[in-house]
């Protein structure tokens, strides 16, 4: 089985915010990390490979330094990696990103399974996975917490829903997006760590994928950001002091004034 796992290097979003006074992005101490949800995707891919045999290829689209993210997952035992980088990819929305990733998956054929994290923490859209599947016309399953191969050819997946979970089956090739319950990522092994530093990572650009500059990046995107601003600040916080009885009364009074149902 050949599993492709799509990862993304993202700014550590806990440090990204807009200064409400100057309306500028505060980027103090913002470092690039592997999207936290993608670690689960990598773990799912490795587990699936370990159970079925075959190999795992990690791909990422980003600036040249996104290569670091690929080396981090190679250290966990991912077999191969490819970096999709091109000036023309800059400014991609989910449509252009998913088109680029889909072309890369097609180039890595034959591919049996594509695994993505449920979403990236910078955009939080959860769209790229399903859109990659749509471009490739693959069946897909989102929010997966368990994966297994049945009878050598079908995938059985447990996916969480808003109210519980579902067990579904799909033929391969297919795409899944996974949640944290799939399992925490393993630690890097020494052997893989050594290999990850030296391994060749092929670089793929728009031309390699047969994509024209106007099909990718900002030019190939259908959505456009017209304004970025700080969220409205929470109105002044009020500390409710006094005895516990006073605190309870004060809180109930305020919540009822705000018409919170159920109180």
């Amino acid at each position: 089985m050949h599993v492709v796992v799509c990862i993304k290097q993202v700014p550590d979003s806990k440090n990204v915010r807009i200064d409400p006074d100057t309306n500028t992005l505060v980027r103090q101490g913002v470092e690039s990390i592997v999207n936290p949800h993608d670690w689960y995707a990598v773990e799912a891919a490795l587990k699936f490979r370990d159970a079925t045999g075959g190999k795992v290829t990690a791909i990422t689209m980003g600036p040249p330094q996104a290569e670091e993210a690929l080396r981090e997952v190679l250290a966990l035992g991912v077999d191969e990696a490819a970096l999709l980088t091109d000036r023309a990819f800059a400014g991609s929305d989910t449509w252009a990103t998913s088109l680029t990733l889909a072309r890369a998956v097609a180039k890595l054929a034959p591919v049996d399974l594509v695994i993505c994290g449920k979403q990236a923490i910078d955009g939080d859209t959860a769209q790229v996975g399903p859109e990659v599947a749509a471009h490739l016309d693959l069946p897909y399953v989102t929010y997966v917490r368990r994966l297994e191969l049945v009878e050598g050819s079908r995938l059985r997946a447990e996916r969480i829903t808003d109210l519980g979970y579902e067990v579904v089956e799909t033929p391969l090739p297919a795409l899944v997006t996974v949640v944290r319950e799939i399992g925490d990522p393993r630690m890097p092994g020494l052997k893989h760590k050594m290999r990850s530093r030296k391994q060749q990572i092929p670089v793929i650009n728009a031309a390699t994928l047969g994509l024209k500059a106007e099909e990718v990046g900002l030019q190939g995107s259908y959505t456009k950001v017209v304004r970025v601003f700080a969220p409205p600040p929470r109105t002044n916080r009020e500390m409710l002091d006094g005895s516990v009885e006073h605190q309870v009364e004060a809180l109930l009074k305020r919540l009822r004034e705000a018409r919170v149902p159920g109180l």
């Binding site: 990204v16 980027r27 800059a90 449509w95 923490i121 808003d162 109210l163 456009k224 970025v228 516990v244």
Partner: protein
């Protein structure tokens, strides 16, 4: 491509340097320069006090016959036979947009046994309800719902499509957008029509620390998802007139490669997290699993849901399905009560969309107080029972 600097306007003030998350801008004594790290995010454009920075235009090809696309649609959500409340909320938002554009508001229902639900949606503001009934639509699969909706959209050509950002909507709507080759904006918290007739979609990014307004100028329909409970439910008018129109999709649309083998609802006595008006969340401050009963008792009393911080899920005190935060669920209830939760940013990003946040913690310096509307510095083991008791007493349940 990268951001462009207008030499005439740039005063080399450096505001863009601070704004750039890529570190792609440098400034010397005369002018700012953008290097190849620029990923066209546009944050510098807003930061520039001189309006000296621009971005290259989006030039994607226009949808053919773009001006023929008219009307606002809501993709209705049906679960367990009933219409999901997010559908009603979207009709409220959709009505406002349709009125501003002077067009019809329609809603699409897919499933079985939908007649009563359909008429109800007219009372909630829909002018037209497209009803697609077929056994192949139950149980829900992404593939069939996406294909049927695509077929209907191609036949009727709405200019806007709104859908719920539920687990279901977030799963199948991206496929619809990709199939129609159009833009999709997830988790919008604000929707408005501009003077150019375009849909201005505002959404949080970077875990809610930044807001962005997004348009889809050249493709139709313009598509957006909205989380449950973000838009206000409209009033019901039993006298409203509207049309219920059945639609029969082609047989190819009704085949799914993904088969649902079984579907299980979590056995829980409290309301599901993403649907509750009130979420009471317990953190490590509860000290042990048994003490979650204090949180559960309060949640049950106010018809709310029980949330859990990541650390208590890791401890095994609560199942993952209750986890709120970056690697768990995102909730936006009317009231969020964080009890004994320290307030790590990974938790906060999952709940800062709540209308009112109450923090109860015995440590007055806990970061959770920074995002709270009301802060209570107290011992949980005194405060929670006292609050529960007071509510009971006032209801005469002593």
């Amino acid at each position: 491509m990268k951001a462009t600097i207008d030499k005439e306007k740039c005063v080399a003030c450096g505001a863009c340097v601070d704004a750039c998350p890529q570190g792609a801008i440098t400034v010397d004594e005369e002018i700012a320069t953008v290097d190849d790290r620029c990923n066209l995010c546009g944050l510098c454009v807003d930061a520039c006090p001189e309006e000296a920075i621009g971005l290259p235009e989006v030039r994607g090809p226009k949808t053919e016959g773009i001006d023929a696309y008219r009307g606002v649609w809501v993709a209705g959500e049906v679960d367990g036979g009933g219409v999901h409340p997010v559908t009603h909320e979207l009709l409220g938002a959709g009505r406002r947009l349709a009125d501003k554009l002077g067009v019809e508001l329609a809603v699409v229902l897919m499933g079985q046994g939908l007649a009563a639900g359909a008429r109800d949606l007219i009372g909630c503001g829909a002018d037209r309800v497209y009803v697609v009934e077929h056994p192949g639509l139950v149980p829900f699969t992404d593939e069939v719902h996406a294909k049927v909706l695509v077929e209907l959209i191609q036949a009727k050509r709405p200019e806007i499509l709104l859908a719920g950002a539920t687990a279901t909507g977030r799963s199948y709507i991206p496929r619809v957008a990709a199939a129609l080759r159009t833009g999709l904006t997830a988790d919008c918290t604000g929707l408005d029509i501009g003077e150019d007739r375009l849909l201005y979609q505002t959404r949080p990014a970077f875990g809610g620390n930044v807001m962005a307004t997004i348009i889809c100028p050249n493709r139709r329909p313009q598509m957006a998802t909205v989380r449950p409970r973000v838009m206000r439910k409209p009033g019901f008018d039993s006298g409203r007139q509207g049309v219920v129109e059945p639609f029969t999709p082609g047989p190819a649309a009704l085949a799914s490669r993904v088969k649902v083998i079984s579907s299980v609802k979590d056995a829980q006595d409290t309301t599901p997290l993403t649907e509750a008006d009130v979420v009471v969340t317990g953190g490590r401050g509860l000290q042990k699993a048994e003490n979650f009963k204090l949180v559960r008792e309060l949640a049950l009393l106010v018809n709310g849901a029980v949330g859990a911080s990541r650390s208590v899920v890791d401890e095994g005190w609560m199942p993952y399905s209750h986890q709120v935060g970056q690697t768990g669920k995102t909730v936006s209830p009317k009231l969020y009560m964080a009890c004994g939760v320290s307030g790590a940013i990974q938790h906060v990003v999952g709940m800062q969309g709540a209308e009112i946040i109450v923090a109860v913690n015995k440590d007055p310096h806990a970061p959770i107080f920074d995002v709270a509307d009301y802060g209570v510095v107290a011992d949980l083991f005194e405060f929670l029972p006292a609050l529960t008791k007071k509510i009971r007493e006032e209801r005469g349940e002593g």
